[in-house]
Amino acid sequence: MTSRMSLLGAAAALALTPFAAMAERGASGHLNMVYWQAPSIMNPYLSGGTKEQEASSIVLEPLARYNENGELVAWLAESIPTVENGGVAADLMSITWRLREGLVWSDGTPVTSADVAFTAEYCMHPEGGCAQLRNFNGVEGVDVVDERTVTVRFGAPTPVPYGPFVSANSPIIQRAQFENCLGPRAPECTDANFSPIGTGAFRVTDFRPNDVIQFEANPNYRDPALPHFATVTLKGGGDAASAGRAVMETGEMDYAWNLQLAPDVIATMAQGGRGAPISAFGTLVERIEMNLTDPSADLPADVRSTRAAPHPVLSDIRVREALSRAIDRELLVEIGYGTAGRPACNLVPNPPIFASEANDNCLVQDLDRARALLDEAGWTPGADGIRVNAEGRRLVLDYQTSTNAVRQDFQALIQQWWREIGVEANLRNINASVFFGGDPGSPDTFQKFYADVEMYANNFTGTDPQNYLGALRCGLEPRPETQWQGENINRFCDPAYDALHAELTQTANIEERGRIARQLNDILVQNFVVVPLVDRGRVDAHANSLGGVRLNVWDSGLWNIAEWHRIQ
């Protein structure tokens, strides 16, 4: 019975597979996508924005990329080079990629290793201002071995050599097209930047910056049966709400990107019946950062919020822990993100091998424990319920974040919980373009951190957290000497942490890397330096008639657009 059932099931699955019915390129007709932030350029090397990366991934492809499970898969390369197969040198100083056979650009010319080497030259040009330079960190040079083989040499042992030419951040561009666009001449190549020649399933027919992009199937695509769609329109602009409506309620569009909307709004739209929301989780974590240095305005400008002045209140781990224990993360998720969020206790929530399980006790809000911790730290409730210490200082914290409806809800909730344990929070919100702007002249940037705690979200690209965790090493904090640039926002400094991170950079074995990274994560989280709140997913929506979508947060969401098809 069961075998008969499964046979029937298999037969039904076969009958439903649309590939069988239309095994020819372009048979699905036209695809309409809407991005409420419109792409400005098709060259990801000149813009670090996600919208540009997604749009350009339709045309430009890397040697290897991450699939929807975060696993590295060979794309333009024949296979993934590893130490085992000899692709990565035993001393971890180089990696050798081999291109697939017979690859051609959409203009019909062959893809060669010279194009790969040129891509590195383009991004590493000192005057180019390449947005993806981080992928080429530590690259000493790129050597052409033969027509199809290229070797990337590193200056130091690199256990994870999958930076250059991997993922939608670092695709291969055509040498012939970009040859005269190196360095300061990059902006002069408007045609190349708007209509790059690629190897992807589609090519650009019309690009209107910040408005609309039209594509047609690449006649020279390597799989003659793909892509299923003949033409694609990517419309940009407007707002997330009407983009969601256009897919799920009116059915005008087939795909909508990044619907950052309240959970109940998305649920209402989904009742429209024309499409459905899909979500996936990556590494984006909404968190509260604790300032370990004193942001008091009474201090001189070169001391304020620098390691020269430790924070008078938050230097005490008991206060930091109390602030974290008072938060009900489940409720935050329910109110702010719905299915697009999960309570987070770790700075590195994903991929599973790097995700620690040692901190799950943060999931339960524990106000009594929080109060006990504050009592222990010498903060006793004052007349108005706000705690006071022996010197008469009130436990008042400045709490800043960027202007955003969900963040202001979070601020109000957390303010309430902190009030219950006797901590007063002064809320501030700052326009995102100022807060994240990094202008050293502005007092309101998140780097300057002229507040006691601040909230925002951050993530890392790819699947390896080495650089991400490395940001919290000593000496990387923003300070006047660095024009307030730097990634160690908390001004955290622990030599043991730095030593452990140094060990990570020397370790190639993946199990070992997982163990070390989890330990690093635990140091940060168990010291309550970073207080993770919500692991944020990405929500897209697709029409019911659109098949083949596999939402990928590790790479471009459009990574497998060649396989998207129309379901009748």
């Binding site: 350029i41 408007t190 930047n193 609309v212 602009g237 009407s242 373009s433 702007g437 309101d444 730097g486």
Partner: protein, 336 residues
């Protein structure tokens, strides 16, 4: 008259220069940064390099001078080359480059202009066509039910913001009734009757929203101006001479009442070019208004500066045109 025009034109040059300088300084002092919408995963030193490659490393006066040179010399030469078709007229050298797209600002403006002219321009014309007759009749039959209704509608048009009427129309006509599309297709090329119908359908809602707003304003002006003239002595004289009501109202009163209205209309023409920022955004009519607002969000200084100065020039020019029109229409006014 000629002397006056010449004097005003010469005076306009320092005015526009001053405006450009003020806008530049405002942008310079505003706290935004073109790197702010980049993901945090881009490390600070890469950000700094990107900033330098945008030319932000130079002193502010150097950047202003460069922009001024490009705006007054390089860009006009490219425009001239484009209009005459003679490529050699275009000057070599850098053009004004947008931070977002790394392409010449002028090309993007030229690309966006048609959408704005179609939608905002059409709604302005409709607004005038509707409001003049309503204003005239409302004044002629003051306090009649027609006047009351007209006053009500124009109050509604005045007081309801477009960010309310826009989504409301979308909800009713796109989601409930399904008559009009939510998303404006800027790539539509009208070369057949069915495409023309499609264009009408997608323009219907944004044009309606803006027409309501424009008509509301002009109706009130028209009505007030008519009422002023209706009680004038020359109207009584005309009636005493036995002229028909039609001649009295449409020939005598209307012509005199149009004088202030025409100048108001002329002064409003630059707003067609500045686009309707909110309406364009709601309906995804990616015109100049939408271009300006996205450029502001992205701290795309060259784009914001160029667009604002172009708008400033238009406003200065149409102010002059309005003044001259006033003198042409009303022989009693002389500037010399």
């Amino acid at each position: 008259m000629f002397n006056y025009t010449l004097r005003r034109l010469l005076l306009a040059i320092p005015t526009v220069l001053f405006i450009a300088f003020i806008i530049f300084l405002l942008l310079e002092l505003s706290p935004g940064d073109p790197m702010s919408d980049m993901p945090l995963t881009i490390p600070p030193e890469v950000r700094e390099q990107m900033r330098l490659s945008l030319g932000l490393g130079e002193a502010w006066y150097v950047r202003f001078y460069k922009w001024l040179y490009m705006f007054t010399i390089v860009e006009p030469s490219h425009m001239l080359a484009g209009m005459t078709g003679i490529e050699s007229l275009a000057l070599e050298g850098q053009r004004i480059i947008s931070f977002q797209t790394r392409s010449p600002v002028a090309d993007i403006i030229a690309q966006r202009m048609p959408q704005t002219l179609w939608v905002v321009g059409l709604s302005y014309i409709f607004g005038i066509l509707i409001s003049v007759p309503i204003g005239v009749y409302s004044a002629y039959r003051q306090y009649s039910w027609f006047d009351q209704a007209g006053t009500f509608v124009s109050m509604v048009g005045f007081s309801l913001p477009t960010f309310f009427t826009g989504p409301l129309l979308m909800l009713i006509f796109s989601i409930w009734l399904g008559w009009f599309p939510i998303i404006y297709d800027t790539t539509l090329i009208v070369d057949s009757f069915s495409d023309f119908l499609l264009q009408l359908r997608q323009m219907a809602m944004p044009v309606f929203v803006l027409t309501l707003y424009n008509a509301a304003q002009i109706t009130r002006f028209m009505r007030a101006s008519m009422l002023d003239n209706m009680t004038q002595d020359y109207v009584r004289t005309a009636r005493a001479k036995g002229m028909t009501e039609k001649v009295v109202v449409l020939l005598h009163v209307l012509r005199n009442s149009m004088i202030p209205v025409v100048t108001v209309i002329a002064l409003g023409i630059p707003t067609i070019f500045t686009g309707a920022i909110i309406t364009e955004n709601i309906f995804r009519v990616n015109g100049l208004g939408q271009l300006l607002i996205t450029a502001i969000y992205a701290s795309d200084f060259p784009m914001v500066l160029t667009l604002s100065v172009v708008f400033a020039i238009l406003i200065v020019a149409f102010n002059l045109i309005a003044d001259i029109l006033y003198a042409v229409l009303d022989p009693r006014i002389r500037y010399d």
